[in-house]
Every structure is written in C-alpha cells, then in structure tokens.
C-alpha cells in the first residue's frame, strides 16, 4: 500500500534532475509543478518551473506579475512575507512553443539563406504551431538545452494536456520521422512534382499518384509544401541527432515522471493509462499526485446522530459565540448541514475508492499522494505552501 507515502515521494526530489508532470487537462498539473518546485527550493535546490501555460494565476501564486519567455527568479521577499526561508532558489519560465521552434531553426539551419527561407515560409507558421507533436517537440528540445546548461539542480516541467502521455516522448522521433522519412525525401527531390519522370524506383507510378493527390490538395499546395520540405530538409541531420539525444535523456535516471490526476473515475482511468504507457517505455514513474480529493468532514457515527442533536449543538454554540440572530432557524440550518455533509460524504467515498483502486493497479513502490479539495483556488504563494504541506508531510 503506497497511499500517502509522502516520505518516498519527497525522496524523489533528491533523486532526479528533471521531473515531468503529465496528466489530462484540468487536473492541476501547473499548480502541482509549482508546488513540487517550491518544496525543492525550500530544501536548498536551485529549481526552475517550466510551464507551457500562460496562466496568470500561476504567476500570481508565485508572487510575480507575469511569467515570460525568460526565466525569472521569485523574489526572496515573497517567501518571507509568508514566513518561509528558502535555502535554495525558485525560478519560473514560460515555454513559448513558437519561439522554441524558431530557435531550433536558427540553430540547425546551415546558412542564413536557408534559415530565412524557412522562417518566412507561409507553411512554417502552421507547421511550427499546429502539426501534431511540434509543441511537444519544442518543449522537449528546450528542456534538453536547459538541462545541458546545468544551471539548475532541478527542472520541473508542466506538460501540455494530452490524451497520450507518450505524445511528449514520441514527439521528437515522430517529427523527425514525419519530415525526414526517406520516403518523403524522395518525394521532394527535384523532378518528382514537376511531372518529369524521376529517377526513383517508383517513378512510373509517381506522376499518376501525385496528380491524383493534387486533385485533393490542389497542385499549388503540393508544390509549395514540397519546396518548404526541401528547404526544411537541411535541418534533418540536426533534428535526428537531437531527437535521439532527447530520448536518451528522458529515459535516463536523471528524469522522473509524476502523473497528476483528479479522483473521478474517468480521469483516474486516463492516469492509469498514462502509467502503463510510461512503464512500457521503461521510464521512471516516481509517483501519482491526486488533486482535489474531497475530505471526509464528518465521520459516519456523527452523521448518524441526526439533525436534532446537531441543531441543539449549533444553538449552544451560538450562545457561546454570542451570535444569535433572530432570523436564524437552527433546525432548518441543521437539516441543510446534514444534507450538505451527506452529499460530500458521497463524493469523499468515491474519491477514496478511486485512490484505493489506483493503489491496487499500481506497483506497491509507487507512492500515491493526495491534495484535498480546497475551498478556494490557489492564488498565492501561501496557497501553494498549504498544498505543499499536504504533499510532502
């Protein structure tokens, strides 16, 4: 049973140089990344939280106005204001996908002319922002750079929401594959699209195939795209090399994955699916973080004691508090309170059931840690710190 194993969970921070938070959308990945970063910073590490969301709330909760493309340090005063003394440093940075991809082109282009031809191509914009996997690719590239640079003891990465955990991992390969496959290289060789018989093996059928395809895409698109790909192919070597290096890093013991989830059935299933995917690639899954777990406010016995007793207690309390508005009907309020507690009990039971289900499905050494559902969204460093205490004991 690895539920609430905060000790094992905390050890993860000493073991890894990179922690990657994965999970479905809306489960609190960004906040969890910040909380993990905060803990590591308090314990003496120089930490970078790398987020992909331009979430103002995260910036606010870190006590800064905005998280930009440049890394920035959270001022010490922000910690002192809430009575924290970090032994390390906490930095934050937003990952701009487009910018990351531009950097990559700038780095790998053999000359200025090629570089400009790519950056100014009208396909490039869509290619760098919209093609499946490009965002993930840019993120993993940037992560690799920051790791190599060695400035930080720990980098916590908040990944884009995906339905497949592996999108992020496979992205480098998939992208290199999409634009670099030998089949494609053959396609944009001069002659193939111009209609002249090529020298390739399938040259005879090629014209027909391309003409038919051209019906769909319009010949213009086909031509332009092939020009783009031809130019872009100058980057292939860099791409492929880098993709291999990134993958090697992600599979190394420097890197651990945290699966972030919410306790409802559907999201838990998705989280377990992530876990399987990560496991099948022999990656290190360091723990499950379950956010928004409904607490059990009232124990079963007390719930059974009924409205009337509660009403009497509330009335007694009102007297001691000396807050006794005439309009208040304690019987009615007690009835509402019981109804409310029963409703949340239902939720708490389901959440607890989900966590048990997870512990049965996961290997016993994988810690599962829970953060209760708070009555407010986390808006401040103090809020992050409350969540941190829940996660790390």
């Amino acid at each position: 049973m690895a539920i609430d194993d905060t000790k094992t969970f905390a050890e993860v921070l000493d073991k890894r140089r990179i922690l990657i938070c994965v999970g479905s959308g809306g489960v609190g990945k960004t906040t969890t990344s910040a909380v993990v970063g905060l803990q590591a910073a308090l314990s003496g590490k120089r930490v970078l939280v790398l987020t992909i969301d331009p979430a103002r709330r995260l910036a606010n909760s870190l006590g800064i106005d905005e998280i930009g493309n440049e890394r920035q340090k959270i001022p010490l005063e922000r910690f002192q204001e809430i009575g924290l003394e970090p032994k390390g440093e906490l930095w934050a940075m937003m990952l701009d996908m487009k910018e990351s991809f531009d950097r990559l082109v700038q780095r790998d282009a053999p000359d200025e002319e090629t570089r400009d031809a790519i950056l100014n191509n009208r396909f490039y914009h869509y290619f760098s922002t919209s093609l499946a996997g490009t965002q993930e690719y840019a993120a993993s590239e940037r992560l690799y750079d920051l790791h190599e640079e060695g400035h930080f003891d720990l980098i916590v990465l908040d990944t884009p929401p995906t339905t497949h955990a592996l999108d992020f991992l496979e992205a480098p390969e998939r992208l290199a594959d999409a634009v670099g496959s030998r089949a494609l290289q053959w396609l944009y060789k001069p002659g193939v699209l111009s209609g002249r018989p090529g020298r390739g093996l399938m040259a005879v059928g090629t014209n027909y195939v391309m003409r038919t395809l051209g019906k769909f895409t319009g010949g213009e698109l086909l031509r332009e795209l092939s020009v783009f790909l031809r130019t872009f192919s100058a980057l292939f070597d860099g791409f492929e090399q880098r993709a291999r290096a990134v993958q090697k890093l992600l599979a190394s013991d420097d890197v651990g994955f945290l699966v972030v989830t919410a306790p409802d059935t559907l999201t838990v299933e998705e989280a377990l699916f992530f876990h399987d995917q990560l496991g099948s690639e022999a990656l290190n899954v360091d723990g499950f973080v379950v956010n928004r777990v409904h607490p059990r406010w009232v124990d079963e016995n007390t719930l059974d004691r009924g409205e009337r007793e509660l009403a009497a207690k509330l009335e007694a309390l009102a007297q001691r508090m000396d807050h006794f508005p005439e309009s208040l009907d304690f019987d009615a309020m007690a009835a509402s309170m019981v109804e409310n507690a029963l409703q949340f009990q239902l939720r708490a039971d389901q959440d607890a059931g989900s966590v048990v289900h997870m512990s049965q499905e996961l290997p016993s050494e994988t810690p599962i840690v829970q953060v209760p559902y708070f009555n407010q969204d986390i808006h401040s460093l103090g809020g992050l710190d409350t969540a941190r205490r829940e996660l790390f004991g």
Binding site: S24, G25, G26, V27, R57, F123, Y126, F127, S130, Q135, P160, P161, T163, A183, L184, W186, L187, G205, Y208, V209, T212, L213, K215, F216, T217, G218, G219, E220, L221, L225, L229, A262, D264, T265, L266, W297, V298, D299, T302, L310, K313, L317, A318, M321, H323, S327, L328, M333, S336, M337, V338, N340, A341, Q343, F344, L346, R347, Q350, N375, D377
Partner: protein, 327 residues
Amino acid sequence: MTVPDLYNRRFVLFSGKGGVGKTTLAASFALSCARRGERTLLMELDAKNKASSLFGVGEIDEEIREIDDNLYGVAVTPAEAMKEYALMVLKIKLIYRAVFENRVVSSFLRVIPGLNELVMLGKAYYHTQETDENGRQKWDKVIVDAPATGHGIFFLKIPSVITNLIGSGLMFEEANRILELLRDPARTGIAIVTLAEDMPVNETLMLTEVLTDEMELPIACVIANAIYRPLFSDDERDWIDDAQDFLCDEESEDVLQEFRGFIEAAKFRNDRVAMQQHYLELLRDNGDWPLMEIPYYFFDRMSFAIIDEIANDLSESLGQTKRQATG
C-alpha cells in the same frame, strides 16, 4: 435570461477544454434531441470512446450504430474519415490504395497542416447534408463532440486556415463548404462548455471573442457545468463563517468539536458557491450569448443516470423555444 435556441440548429458543436464535461453534455444534449423525436447522430471526433461507456453500449466505432431510440453514435478517426472521403471522390478502391496507401503519400499527408481536422469536419458536414432514398434529410441533428485539443479553437480554425493557405483543389472546396456551414447561424450552433472557475472562464472568454470577432462563427450558448446549488441563506452563511472562526480559535477539547465537520463542510459549500457565482457573473457581464447552468452532481459523473437527468434538464430549459418542423 435568453433561452438558447440549440434545438433549432441542425449542426451543433460542443467545444471546450478537456475535463469540463464536454462529452457528458454533448451526449446529454444528443439524448434530449432524440427524445424529442429527432433522428440524432452523435459524433465523437478523435476521442477514446468516451460516449460508449455513458450509454452502456459496446464500443462505438467508425460504423454508425443505434445507441438509444432515435440516437445514433459514431467515433471518427482521421484515418477512417480520410479513407471514406477519398473513396467517395475516387470511387475505385484500387486507386485509393495506390494513392493513399502509398508510403510517400501517407508521409506527405501527415505534414499537411490541419488535414486530419478537416477530414473529420468534412465527415460531419457530409452527414448534415446526407439524404435518404426519398430525398429527405437523413439526420435532424448532427452533434459533434469536438476533440479536446489544448486549445479548442484550433479545431474550429482549420477550415479558414486551409482556405487562406491554398486556393484550389478539392480540399479547398471542401474547406469552403464547411466554413459556410459553420458560419451559418440558421444551421449551426457552437456550444462552449466551461466550469465556473478561474482558468476555464478566462479561456472561455478568450475563445468566445476569437470565435465571434475573428472567425464570425455563431455561438449558440455557453454552458457552465457543475454548478453547486446554494444550500444556505445569507444569514446562515454569515453565522457559519463566524462559527468556523470561533471554533478555529477555540483550543479546548470542546464537545462541539465532533460536530465541527458539519460547519466546515457547510463553509466549503458556501465558499465554492460564492466563487462560482463570481465567475458566472463574469461570464454574464462579458458576453451577449445565452448562459446555461448545469448542476453539480455528487455521484460520479460518467453514468447513464446522469446524462438522463441532464437531458431532462436540458429539454425543460431549452424546450421553451419553438420546435422547428423537421425534414
């Protein structure tokens, strides 16, 4: 509040970020349409079969199948949609194979921006136009549960991206037809699903602005999901706040401590209600589309019982609009 005329549109798309209950609401809406006697097609795009578990039917796949009275479901994948579309145009399977299953071509198709989304929208478009042997519309309603991409907007942008990018060919014509349908408020409605919380609301406001101003797409309504019903009056709320503070200060092992959970749970409810009301107001103040609220369900959300109940809610609140003659 204006009642959204969702029932009068033939083509309804549910958009929104992942985790807001988009699939549940699309399914509930589809069920409510079917119960009004409309032949309804629920299309899941590039998703992992979430609707099938809701209806307790076997896997919904690329074959259209009946999942309830009058209600049909289909799961659309880009690969299947591409194949169907290509076959429709090319007519001959052998040619399709030679062209589209060619390795070079499949690599090529993978890098065409937005092609996957376009062929899926294309399939949806086709079903909105589809007629039976008597020449009547085959579907009274086509309901699309749009893929939960990081930014839902990307999906809806695709047709205009394509028409801006290329100027000829079947893809261009297809994109144009889809765009025309999407922009027609008489036929199409976009329902944006959100939660009454900080990030989802901010994203929704951004999305509605882009949809209306930039893309000229008709927003039929915004649906705020999982709204807590307030349980306590203002006086009660004040008293509960006070009691909570009082008990926090009280160090003694009071006999009341065991009942304290009731007060904490009530306080939690009140705080959540207040927060949601704040964000609902923000939604109301910042747009002229109708806003609908769907209550929070304390039991787990993925069951037929829940969509059944939401479907009833929807038909009650939406039913005030006149039903259009079908066919």
